[in-house]
Symmetry: C2
C-alpha cells in the first residue's frame, strides 16, 4: 500500500474526531512500535517509542533534522522549505510536522538517527579512578559533606529516660563532638524503630550543604538519615552534570573516594530543542515545563539505573546528589520556569539554590536524599562554570587564567585567585553541527579529523567510530576550515578561491563548497561538503567567542598576551585541536603549552564537591568573587565581534604565528 | 421483623463470604445511614455515619459505653459481662462487639450518645479577646514568630541583573535589616512569577520556630512564603490544643493580636479508646497508627472549616500552626509510633520536634505552612504542660508554684523561675467519668453540682445543659463525694454509714450506694447513684494526684505549706470546686486564695507562642529547666499513695481545715 499524504492546510479539521482514536506507529530499523493518539506527530511517537531522532529545533520544523520516510499508512503533513521536491516525492517527511492518521510504518534514515555509542568516547575516567583524578584544584581535604557516624547508645533506663532524639544527639556529641545540628523531621519519625532494631546501635547520616555552610563558623549539618546498626560500609553519592545535550553521572563511593560507575545519555529534552533558547520557549507552552522536567528526570533515572546495575550498589545506599549544569538546565530540572533567563535583562531565579529533596523532583532515590545544585553567577554563567572553575583550581592560582567552555552558549572566565570576570557569548549552534549543511553532533559517523594534501587538495578524513561518514561535527568543521585556510583553498574572508582547479571545490546549491566525502563514501548516499555558508556560520561563532575574550581582557586593563594559562573545558573542548582552533581565530594565539584541557569540568566539580566540604566552601566563595559582563548590549563587544569576522582576525598582528603560515593570497576568489 | 442474633462463637465463619457483601446500617435518632462491608461492627458503622458513641475503651468491649439497641436486621455479637440478662433480652448490644450481617436498624440510647453542645461551655474567651487574655505570663512583646514584610524592589536592568532571590534578599536587608535567612525551596520556585506580577512589589512571610530560635543570637528566620503585592492585611495563624478527649482551636489575627474565631470538637480518636494507653495499644494494630492519625487530622480540619467560615477568613491566609498536646497525642498526630511511651522506661521520641509542613500531615492549609509542636519534657509531661506553664507565667515568678492538670494522666509541676520538677500521675479514668457506674464525660445531662441537706439527706443536683440527668461526670463525683463525706453519709474510709435511715442510701447491685436521681427524674429511665466502688475509684484517682504532689514536694526538700500559689489548668480543672476538691484530699489544704484557674493552658500557650517570639524562647528555656520524676517505680510515691487512700488523708493534720468540719464519726459503717 502506498502511503497517502494530506497537506494539513487542505485537510478537514479532524482534531475532535481524532481525540479518542489510536494509531500504531512502527519504526525501522530496530522494530520499535508504539500506540499513540490519532493526530500525534511522528516525533512524539518516536520519543514514546524510544527511537532517538536528532530533532535539533525541538519540533518547530525549522531544522530539518528529524526527516523520516513514511512507508505505509496515512499521515497529514505540513511541508516546509526544509524538504526538497525530490525528498517530498520520495516520501520523506519531517517527523515533527507529520501526524499519524492511521497505523503507520516509518523508516528513520541514518542521518536522522542519534547514536549513543559515542557518549562513552570522552576522555575516560577509569572506573577505579582516585578521587581527584583530572582535577587541577589542590589543597582540599577528603571530607565528604555527606558523612556517616555509627554510635552505640546506652539503652534508656528509668533513671535516664530522655527522649530518643536527645539520647542520639548526646551520643553524637560525646563520640564525635557533633553539635548544633538541624534534624530533619523524617529522621525523628524513623528514630524509635531504628534505635531499637539493632540494640541501640545506629548509623546517622549528616549533610553539609552550600547553604548551610554559610559562614562555616556557624555551620549546622543536617541530620538527614538514621539506619539501624552499622551501615558505614555502604556510603554513596551521585554527581551529575546536566548538559543541554548530554547528561553525565558518576556514582561515588564516599568511603574510598572513588568513582564506582559512570554513565551518560543524551538529555531527554533534546527532541524539544537543541539549545537552551528553544527549551525555554518550549517551557512557555502549556505543560511544557513539566514535560521538559520529566524528560531530564527520566534521563537521570536511566543513567542511575545503569550505574547501580554496573556497580552492584543498592539504590537506598545513595545519600546525596550533587548537580551542576547551566542555569537553564538547572531551573528546568528543579521545575522553575526559566522564562526570565531569556528575556532582557536576563535574571536567573537564584544564585544559591536551597537544597531540595531529590525524590520530590521524581529522581528515584530514597526520600531523605537531598540534591544540591551548584551556585551560579548569572543566567548564562551557570553552576557548570563555577563547578569547572573550582575543579580547575582557577580560584587558587596566582596565574592569570582564561577558562573557556565552548558551545552554543559559550562561557568564558578570566581571572585568578583574587578576582574573576565572566561573560557568556552567544555563538550559535555551529560548534554543535547546527545550521551546518552536513552538520551533526559529535556522534558516530561524524567527520572529525581532516587533512588536505597541499598539492592534490585531496582530503584525508577521520570519522568518529571508524565508520562511513554521515556528516561533520563542530570540531571537524574547525579542523576542515583551518585546513582550507592554511592550504589556501579559502581566503581570510572565508571565501573560496574560485581559481583553484580541483573537483573538490565546486559551485553547489548553496554557492561554493569543498567536498569532504563523495556520496559513495557516505552512509547517507549523499556528498558531504563544507559550504561558504557553513564557513560563514563558523566564523560568526568563533568571532563571538573571541570577541567575548577580547572584551573581558580589555575590561580589566590587560592584553591577550598577559594570559598565563588557558583552561579548555566542556565536551566540545575535549576534542578540539588547539592549533586548528587558533588557526581560525577561535582561541588566542598564545604559546601552545599554556593550553590545558580539563574535560567535563562541571561533572568534575560536582564530584569534588561530594568528596570535600572544602570544595563546597570554595565554590561558594568563588561564585561570589565572579563579576559578570553582559555582552549583548556592550558596544566594545560589537566592535571586537566585527574585527573577529575574519580568519583568523582582521588584525594579523594578534595572530602572528598563524598569519606567517598562511599563503600570500589571503583573500578568496582573488 | 424481629432482629435475629447470632452469638459469634456459635456461628459459622462467614469472614470470607462476607468480604464483598455490603449492609446498610440505619441509626436513630437523627436518621443517619451508612453502607458498610458485611461483618463491620456497629461501632465502625457509627463512626462512618458520623454518629457519636461514647465508646470509652476503644472497641475492646470492656467499658460498656457503646450500648445500642438493634431494632431490625441480623447481627452477630459477642456477649460480655457488661450486658445484663435483661439488657440482652431487650436487644441491647455493645456496638463494638456486634457486626452487621444484613441491613440493620439501630437505636442509640441517650446514655451512649456523645453530645457536642457542651464543648463551647468552657470559660469563654470572647471572639474579640485581646491577645493575652487569660494568660498570667507577662513582659513579652507582641512579636509573632510569623511575620510579613512588604518590599518594593527596583526592577532589574542590564547593569543590575542579579538573581531574583538576591534582589529580594537585598531589599529585605535594606528595608528591614533582615539577613541570615534560610530560604525554603518552594519560595524560590514561586519567586520569578511573584516578583513580576505586581510590578516588583511582594510580601514575604518569615517564620522563627523553636528549633531555629536556638540560640537567639544566631537565629535564622525561614523565608517560607512570597506573595505578589502587599498582602500584609491578611495574616493569620492557627493555635491548636490536641487533647485526648477534645481538640480545640483558635484562629488568630496576627496583625491585630486577636482571636477571630474558636472552635472545639471531640477528638475523632475517641471511638478508638478514651485514654492515651488504649490509643497507643490501638496504634500497634496493622494500620492503627494511620487510622488514629487520620482521625485527629479530620477533627482539626473540621474545626478549621468552622472557624474559617465563622471569621470569613481565606484558608490560604493561614501561615502557621502552633500545636500543643500531650506527648502521645502529638506523636500520633505527627505519624510517629507512640509505642515506647507506654513501655518502661517511657521514652518519647524527641523533646524538641522539628517543624513539619502541615499539609504533609493532611491538614488542609497551604503547602508552605509549617506546624510547630511545643517542646515536651517526657512521655507523660507533654507540650500541653510546657505551654500551660509558660502561659501561667510560672517560669517568671519567684513564688513557689504548684501547677496541676488533673486527668486520667494527671500532670504536676512544682517550682518557679529558677527550677521546676514535674511528674505524671496515672490517676485512671474516674475524673472523666470512666469506670464509674453512672459515669459520663462532662457533657449535657451530666450531674455536676450536688448539695445534700444535712437533715433530710436529700440532694439538690445541678445538671449540665439544665436538662434531665443522664449520669455523673468527674467534677460532679468530686462534689458528691465531698458532700457525702461532710454530711457524714460516708466515712473517711469511703464506706457508707450503714446505720443511716434514708431511702437514698441503699444496698444495690454493687454494694452500698447513694441515689442522686431516681429513674423518673433521668433521661435514661434508670436510677443514678454513687456506689462504694465509685468512691473507691475516685479515692484511688485523687490519691495518685496527691501522692505525686507530696512526692515532688519532698524531693525538693519542701513541705506542702511552702507552696505560694496553685495553678489549676485543663478542661477538667476549669469546673472543679476547690473547696470540694480539698475536702476529698485531691488538692492540698492551703488558703483558698492561693488557687488560680487558668483554664486550657495548653491552648493559651499555643496562642501566646503564635503572638510572641519571646514566648517561644521562654518555652524552650522552661522545657529545658524541667526535671521529670518517674513515679511509677518510686517507693516514696507508693507510701504517699497508700497514705492518701483516705478521705481526705490518713494524716488529718495535713488537712486541718477539712477535718475540723467533719462529723465525729469519721469512718463508715461504724
Amino acid at each position: 500500500m502506498t502511503p497517502i499524504f494530506f497537506n494539513r492546510d487542505e485537510g478537514v479539521d479532524l482534531a475532535n474526531e481524532a481525540s479518542n482514536a489510536k494509531c500504531t506507529v512502527h519504526f525501522e530499523p530496530g522494530n520499535f512500535e508504539v500506540v499513540v493518539d490519532k493526530g500525534s506527530t511522528l516525533l512524539e511517537a518516536a520519543m514514546q517509542a524510544g527511537v532517538r531522532l536528532i530533532a535539533a529545533c525541538g519540533g518547530s520544523g525549522t531544522c530539518g533534522t528529524c526527516k523520516v520516510i513514511v512507508e505505509d499508512g496515512e499521515v497529514e503533513t505540513v511541508r516546509t522549505a526544509k524538504l526538497s521536491d525530490d525528498e517530498f516525492k520520495r516520501g520523506i517527511r519531517q517527523a515533527c510536522q507529520t501526524t499519524a492518521m492511521t497505523d503507520v510504518k516509518v523508516y528513520v534514515p541514518v542521518e536522522s538517527r542519534l547514536e549513543t555509542a559515542v557518549l562513552s568516547r570522552e576522555r575516560k575516567t577509569a572506573a577505579t579512578a582516585a578521587w581527584g583524578e583530572g582535577a587541577l584544584a589542590s589543597g582540599w581535604r577528603f571530607s565528604p559533606p555527606l558523612a556517616k557516624y555509627c554510635v552505640r547508645l546506652p539503652p534508656p533506663s528509668i533513671n535516664d529516660n530522655v527522649s530518643d532524639l536527645s539520647r542520639l544527639l548526646r551520643g553524637l556529641k560525646e563520640d564525635f563532638r557533633l553539635s548544633n545540628m538541624t534534624v530533619d523531621f523524617d529522621v525523628v519519625k524513623k528514630l524509635p524503630g531504628a534505635l531499637r532494631e539493632k540494640d541501640w546501635q545506629v548509623t546517622v547520616t549528616t549533610l553539609v550543604t552550600a547553604i548551610d555552610a554559610k559562614p562555616s563558623a556557624t555551620r549546622r549539618p543536617r541530620l538527614v538519615n538514621v539506619e539501624p546498626g552499622d551501615t558505614r560500609h555502604t556510603h554513596y553519592s551521585l554527581a551529575v552534570d546536566i548538559g543541554t545535550t548530554t547528561v553525565k553521572g558518576q556514582l561515588l563511593d564516599l568511603n574510598r573516594g572513588r568513582i564506582v560507575a559512570e554513565s551518560a545519555e543524551y538529555n531527554g529534552q533534546r527532541p524539544y530543542g537543541a539549545d537552551v533558547i528553544t527549551r525555554i520557549t518550549y517551557c512557555q507552552k502549556p505543560g511544557g515545563l513539566e514535560k521538559l522536567q520529566t524528560a531530564v528526570v527520566e534521563t537521570i533515572n536511566g543513567i542511575l539505573d545503569k550505574m547501580l546495575e554496573k556497580a552492584k550498589v543498592n539504590r537506598n545506599d545513595i545519600g546525596h546528589l550533587s548537580v551542576a549544569g547551566n542555569t537553564t538546565m538547572i531551573q528546568i530540572f528543579l521545575g522553575i520556569d526559566p522564562k526570565y533567563i531569556r528575556l532582557s535583562p536576563y535574571t536567573p531565579v537564584a544564585t544559591y539554590l536551597p537544597p531540595v529533596k531529590a525524590a520530590t523532583l521524581g529522581v528515584k532515590v530514597a526520600d531523605h536524599v537531598y540534591l544540591s545544585a551548584f551556585p551560579l553567577v548569572a543566567s548564562y554563567i551557570g553552576g557548570d562554570i563555577t563547578a569547572g572553575v573550582v575543579a580547575a583550581g582557577m580560584h587558587q592560582t596566582k596565574k592569570l587564567t582564561y577558562y573557556i567552555d565552548i558551545g552554543t552558549n559559550g562561557q568564558i572566565v578570566i581571572g585568578n585567585q583574587d578576582w574573576m570576570v565572566t561573560a557568556a557569548c552567544s555563538a550559535g549552534p555551529a560548534f554543535e553541527g547546527g545550521e551546518i549543511k552536513s552538520g551533526m553532533i559529535a556522534a558516530n559517523g561524524a567527520i572529525e579529523g581532516c587533512d588536505i594534501d597541499p598539492k592534490t587538495l585531496e582530503p584525508t578524513i577521520g570519522v568518529i567510530g571508524n565508520e562511513k561518514a554521515k556528516g561533520i561535527c563542530g570540531s571537524g568543521l574547525i579542523n576542515a576550515v583551518a585546513e582550507l585556510l592554511e592550504k589556501g583553498i579559502i581566503g581570510r574572508d572565508g571565501h573560496f578561491d574560485a581559481n583553484l582547479r580541483s573537483p573538490r571545490v565546486r559551485h553547489g546549491e548553496d554557492g561554493y563548497e569543498y567536498v569532504l566525502a563523495y556520496a559513495d563514501e557516505t552512509q547517507t548516499g549523499k556528498d558531504i561538503a563544507v559550504t561558504e555558508i557553513d564557513i560563514d556560520n563558523l566564523m560568526r561563532a568563533k568571532a563571538a567567542m573571541y570577541a567575548g575574550f577580547r572584551t573581558l581582557v580589555k575590561s580589566v586593563g590587560l592584553a591577550p598576551e598577559d594570559i598565563e594559562q588557558i583552561i579548555i573545558a566542556g565536551a566540545f573542548g575535549s576534542y578540539i585541536n588547539v592549533d586548528r582552533a587558533i588557526m581560525i581565530g577561535l582561541l588566542p594565539d598564545l604559546p601552545r603549552d599554556r593550553f590545558i584541557f580539563i574535560g567535563n569540568g562541571s561533572l568534575m566539580g560536582a564530584r569534588l564537591a561530594d568528596f570535600s566540604t572544602d570544595i563546597i566552601d570554595e565554590v561558594r566563595r568563588t561564585a561570589r568573587s565572579m563579576t559578570n559582563f553582559e555582552l549583548s548590549e556592550n558596544a566594545d563587544f560589537m566592535n571586537n565581534y566585527v574585527a573577529a569576522l575574519f580568519l583568523p582576525h582582521t588584525n594579523c598582528a594578534e595572530f602572528a604565528t598563524v598569519c606567517e603560515r598562511l599563503p600570500a593570497a589571503t583573500t578568496g576568489r582573488g
